[in-house]
Subunit: 311 residues, 2 copies
């Protein structure tokens, strides 16, 4: 009988779960609310409930777990997850109280990257960078065909590459991180600034403007919103050019909520990337949307459990 793996992707508002066969077929999926404010113990209990519902009588081999934030890979600890309000949570131990199964912990961008590598847009590449652009900007590096974790499991934080030291302040405290310049949060900020300068006098209050507002207006053809998307795409192209000069990948795979506007964003990012790349770098470089959507993290977590359980 073929082995089965359970992937869990814990996000700030929702937890996605997927039961995947050893050859990568999605067998079942589920989605529950995170309710992180109830604390890690309760969250884990509800996730275990969902796992039992999904698997029923079926035997699974291992669980893969993606969490938002840096982890301590060797101890199975979530070091810091601001979106969950968690700090030094021994999550693998919490699962062990309920499940007699190996649990593999990874950063959420890394599991999403591994999902795209094994089942999605990155299948054909041994060197690619997965970038997720949503409220923040995260990344997962696939180098030489493997997940690149860095020396301490904290690599891939491409959103905190500073691209303008006089730019807007980022959540991390620095100024001008790519995340502060080009994330969903940055779209919202640029929208509010435009509004304060008299744009959209009939619109909502500045506080009501989110990244999605600008994305939706731009998709509907609103010119000032398109100009904001232009600026976002310039910064993203600059960031990808930097990463290309450093890592010389074959491709970028772009996911996250902001990719809802992929048809506007991708050609603009491509144009900026070409402007910024040195000769010779752009010819073989591909820019691709992620394929797996919002279940990608859970699928990738299942594939992490499949591919790294030998460790």
């Amino acid at each position: 009988m073929q082995e089965k793996y359970l992937g869990v992707d814990i996000g700030g508002t929702k937890v996605m779960l997927a039961l995947v066969s050893g050859d990568g077929l999605t067998l079942k999926r589920d989605r529950i609310e995170t309710m992180a404010e109830e604390g890690p113990r309760r969250v884990v209990e509800r996730i275990v409930g969902s796992i039992k519902k999904i698997t029923g009588e079926e035997k699974i081999t291992a669980v893969g777990l993606g969490v938002p934030g840096p982890i301590d890979f060797s101890r199975g600890v979530v070091t810091l997850a601001p979106n969950l309000g968690w700090k030094n949570v021994a999550i693998v131990d919490l699962f062990a109280e309920h499940l007699d199964l190996p649990v593999y912990l990874e950063n959420d961008a890394l599991v999403a990257a591994w999902g795209e590598k094994t089942l999605g847009a990155g299948k054909d590449f041994d060197h690619f960078i997965y970038m997720t652009v949503s409220t923040g900007i995260g990344g997962g590096l696939i180098l030489d065909g493997k997940l690149y974790r860095g020396a301490h499991g904290a690599g891939g934080e491409i959103g905190h590459m500073i691209i303008d030291p006089t730019g807007p302040t980022c959540g991390c405290g620095n100024q001008g991180c790519l995340e502060a310049m080009a994330s969903g949060k940055a779209l919202a900020r640029m929208g509010r600034e435009a509004m304060e300068q008299g744009q959209w006098p009939e619109g909502p209050s500045p506080d009501g403007i989110t990244g999605s507002t600008i994305t939706n207006w731009a998709k509907a053809g609103d010119q000032p919103s398109i100009e904001i998307i232009d600026r976002q795409a310039r910064y993203l192209g600059l960031g990808l050019a930097n990463l290309t000069h450093i890592l010389d990948p074959q491709a970028f795979v772009l996911g996250g909520g902001v990719m809802a506007a992929a048809e506007l964003l991708l050609p603009r990012i491509q144009a900026a990337l070409e402007d910024y790349l040195m000769p010779g770098y752009g010819e073989r470089l591909q820019l691709l949307p992620a394929k797996l959507g919002d279940i990608g993290g859970a699928l990738g977590a299942a594939m992490v459990a499949r591919d790294f359980r030998a460790k």
Copy 2:
């Protein structure tokens, strides 16, 4: 009998050569002028002359070759070497006309990185980034204990990471590359700008100011020169923080001519790095001067010939 390897490091003005034993002992060394303007064929002939002088009757196993600029690893071709004025030079074939030995070609920053990994400051690290700061800024990535070349052999160009899109124009055409902000060339530019603003009225003409001028004045205690070094160190620290967030290395190893002012630069870079790093990243990160000096590239090239000839 132990095997011997010959390393050659071709620079813009000089070629360094080293004969190294299989266990990493330097047996002989030589230095000749590059005179790149005579064309690659003549340069190779003179290098072969030096190789024959060094090796005499001794049998060597392979030659490693470091060249300044992107290469096509698979074809043994120097794609572009602006400092030599070379473009698409099939240098491995040129050597084959004179030597019946395998010749392994690599980018010069990569061979220097491999030298520090095998014989120098990087021995204890599986994940470190070698950065050379001289006229320009180059880099070599050691990831998971191996040279990281990227998908097409063009990785490691950390000097062309843009850190300020409105910054000074770089040789590559972009604005605000780390190289344009913090290399020897950038020191010279900051020096000229200070002079045009009335600094050092008794000094040489602005055209006479080089990176070394500023470095030497700063070492002698000249305050305005120290302030320029401060600015350089801020930018270098920012660049290293970006690389740390992306790659999570154990260490940086810094070489190149500008490191003549290491006692001024290193503590300042360290302070800037700590300012820019997110929590958790700096605790285990080391900042070290390169150990091998200007023969490091040739030694590293010999070790590349030793370690990668199986390919």
